[in-house]
């Protein structure tokens, strides 16, 4: 229920445009309502609301001096305020602020990974910064932190906006990184200045997608792929995760939420991959194994609730922060790893080639997948299930370098047999999708009847925690879905306290699931603050699912075939050897 106080409106004018905004609205939001775009740099809604960069300063007849619009809530006192966002004083102030930020910023812009989509660069251009050296003086020099398996921190390019800290702290609840020291000596780092790789970082990459500059970026593994493609001995297989088709287009200027599945398949072929398969096949396989595991746990009294294990950041979080609860994790490998394991076993045997000569590449929305491929869980001893895992951004980089005009590409298709998938698999890319896909299969298995309505709307949407209860063949199944680790913590604390009412839980490490993963295309904060990027991307996946004839994993003909020819049935001994894994207890560092 909305309190009466919050319903009260305050009338102001922004650059002469009248706005009636609810009390408590920031000037920044009120300006947005008036169609006025105030520049921001440190501000990331819900993630970092600290007002430290001073770019969004405005004038108000009801306030003294310039005020930070992102942190100024309108109150009844502001009734009738004339707010100006573009006076000469303000423009001069913004230019000066940018010049001062540049004075301690390493300006290797030409070769910077963020050149072209750097928010600092964009603002400098907009506000006419024509002398980037104006305030040059002493500058701290930092060694690159390359200790983490998935990313690099280059503090020489850090502007201390603290968006990464907000992502780690406020979104994920981890607090691995923060501001150390004071004043000019301050920098963003880990406790006791340890490298990120020596901490309990779970590799989610939410700090990377929060960063406005080139201070944080994934380790680029594209050279390894180029080398494999150039090696005639290697059969190079690519598998893109479900969510990549919903986001890759952004890298080429297409609107957020454009499904580019067909163009992506063509791009893979032009890049020189030998086999264009799909992680969606791995997702369908995951559903077969995971739903069988769930039914077995329910019927035989295994550890409940069972929790999904697709998200490697979440898995490492559980291992680190809830080591006593790892028995609740499904033993299923993630779709990426299941798919990789199948290429090195079933597919290698089918083709009669040495698995050592198969090079499997995952294209993932995720930086934690770079960690996942290093886990000790290979199906074939000495052969990695997946050789290299790259992000959506790295794939886009490869496509651009190979002179491929992405937006002009004709639609292509995936290869058989591991490119075949169902609608259940494609929704893995959004929070609630694994749950929905698992329910589609589990309900049919338990009832023995065909499910007519395959949508489970209760588990869709972007609430941090969603729950639903289903009565399936006389058994009550209570499920929960969480995304973002701060939300996961709530469900895990219940499990630890023995009060969890659930049978099955889906957890994704990133808020909103893979469509909002740490490896996805970067979206300018000035867009992100006002557009629900997650919903637009998710719509592309739900539309993809709805357009498919086959929407349940167990209906996938190639899945049926792989069980007939190889695994016999879900949960078989062979399936366990190849498709399942174990977990380790880790300590907090």
């Amino acid at each position: 229920m909305i309190m009466a106080d919050e319903m009260k409106l305050v009338n102001v004018k922004v650059n002469g445009i009248p706005v009636a905004a609810p009390i408590g609205t920031t000037i920044l939001d009120a300006a947005h309502m008036a169609g006025v775009k105030i520049p921001t740099l440190c501000y990331l809604k819900g993630t970092n609301e600290v007002g430290d960069c001073r770019l969004c300063l405005v004038e108000s007849t009801k306030a003294r001096g310039l005020v930070a619009s992102c942190m100024y809530p309108l109150s009844a006192m502001d009734e009738g305020a004339e707010i100006k966002t573009n006076t000469p004083v303000i423009l001069e102030s913004r230019k000066r602020t940018l010049e001062l930020i540049l004075s301690t910023h390493e300006r290797k812009c030409l070769s910077c990974v963020r050149s072209g989509n750097c928010e600092l660069q964009k603002l400098c251009k907009e506000y006419g910064v024509d002398d980037e050296k104006l305030y040059d003086g002493y500058r701290n020099e930092f060694e690159l932190d390359t200790t983490a398996v998935h990313m690099v921190r280059d503090n020489n390019k850090c502007i201390l906006c603290r968006r990464c800290v907000g992502a780690c702290d406020n979104i994920q609840g981890l607090g691995i990184i923060g501001a150390n020291n004071r004043g000019f000596a301050s920098f963003i780092g880990c406790a006791f200045d340890k490298g990120l790789g020596e901490t309990s970082c779970i590799h989610c990459g939410q700090c990377i997608v929060a960063c406005p500059t080139g201070a944080l970026y994934e380790k680029d593994d594209t050279a390894k792929i180029e080398a494999a493609i150039a090696d005639p001995e290697k059969l190079v297989i690519v598998q893109p995760a479900p969510s990549i088709r919903a986001t890759l287009g952004e890298e080429f200027g297409l609107p957020i939420g454009t499904d580019v599945e067909g163009k992506m398949a063509t791009a893979f072929r032009r890049l020189g991959f030998d086999k264009i398969f799909d992680t969606d096949f791995g997702a369908d396989l995951t559903i077969m194994e995971e739903s069988a595991e769930l039914i077995e746990r329910v019927q035989k009294g295994g550890a409940l609730p069972m929790i999904t294990s697709c998200s490697p950041g979440w898995v490492k979080y559980c291992e680190t922060y809830y080591p006593e609860q790892i028995g609740h994790l499904s033993t299923c490998k993630s779709p990426q790893q299941m798919f990789g394991a199948v290429t090195k076993t079933y597919y290698a045997e089918k083709l009669g080639i040495d698995p050592k000569n198969i090079f499997t590449v995952g294209v993932m929305p995720c930086t934690a997948k770079k960690f996942e491929v290093t886990r000790d869980q290979s199906a074939v001893p000495g052969v990695m299930d997946v050789d290299v895992s790259i992000t959506t951004r790295e794939l886009a980089r490869m496509i651009k370098r190979h002179d491929i005009d992405f937006t002009a590409l004709p639609d292509g298709s995936f290869d058989d047999p591991l490119g075949e998938s169902t609608g259940a698999a494609v929704i893995f890319g959004v929070t609630g999708g694994v749950m929905e896909a698992a329910l589609r299969t589990a309900v049919e298995k338990l009832t023995g009847e065909t499910l007519e309505k395959v949508e489970f709307n209760e588990v869709r949407g972007f609430d941090g925690i969603k729950e639903a209860t289903y009565n399936v063949a006389g058994t009550e199944i209570k499920v929960a879905v969480a995304s973002g680790l701060k939300n996961a913590k709530v469900l895990m604390d219940q499990i630890e306290a023995g009060t969890s009412p659930y049978t099955f839980i889906e957890i994704m490490g990133c808020p909103g699931g893979c469509i909002n993963g740490g490896g996805q295309p970067l979206v300018d904060s000035m867009v992100r603050n006002f557009v629900d990027v997650r919903a637009l991307r998710a719509n592309a996946l739900y539309a993809n699912d709805a357009a498919k004839t086959l929407r349940k994993s167990h209906e996938n003909p190639s899945i049926k075939k792989i069980y007939e020819e190889y695994f016999a049935e879900p949960g078989s001994h062979k399936a366990h050897e190849i498709l399942h894994c174990s977990y380790v207890k880790r300590s907090i560092n």
Partner: protein, 164 residues
């Protein structure tokens, strides 16, 4: 900047640990408890090494980085113990223009530590201070309160030798 890799070995006692745990238990449910906890922890141990900060993190649930961030923000907190012999070099205006900066740098070089730190053997700690009112003797330093004046860098070996 920040922590030194060759830290002085931690020599906390069981008694100190009990004191710390009791102190945290009494404070941790209050809002903004971290500052008083750190102040009292430094009273107990004399400084805030990783071992102490880790215990605070475990007991309060506050991430270690948050604690470290606060401990390195305020100059009242030290990550290093004081040495058996505490050297304090005056960097006040008079001493500084008479060359105390060189003396300070030379001491850092000889002891192999930064200002604010302690040698791994625990013998010497080095700090800078502001005017101690002995400007007539500039540049000056004190070791355990004993004043050495009209210093030059080449006098340091002889002075340090007295404390070895």
């Amino acid at each position: 900047m920040g922590a030194d890799k060759k830290a002085v070995p931690f020599k906390g006692t069981e008694e100190q640990k009990q004191q710390l745990l009791e102190m945290i238990a009494g404070l941790k449910n209050e809002r903004g408890a971290l500052m008083p906890i750190l102040q009292k922890a430094q009273d107990i141990y004399g400084y805030l090494p990783i071992e102490v900060q880790t215990m605070i993190s475990d007991e309060t649930g506050i991430p270690l980085e948050k604690i470290y961030g606060v401990a390195t923000f305020y100059s009242q907190f030290s990550l290093y113990p004081k040495g058996k012999n505490q050297i304090s070099v005056c960097l006040g205006t008079a001493c500084y223009v008479k060359g105390s900066g060189d003396v300070y740098n030379k001491l850092m070089e000889k002891l192999g530590i930064e200002g604010g730190q302690c040698t791994p053997d625990g013998k010497f700690s080095l700090d800078a201070c502001r005017c101690i009112g002995a400007c007539g003797l500039a540049p000056v330093m004190t070791i355990n309160g004993e004043v050495y004046g009209k210093l030059t860098a080449d006098m340091l070996d002889g002075i340090l030798a007295k404390y070895e």
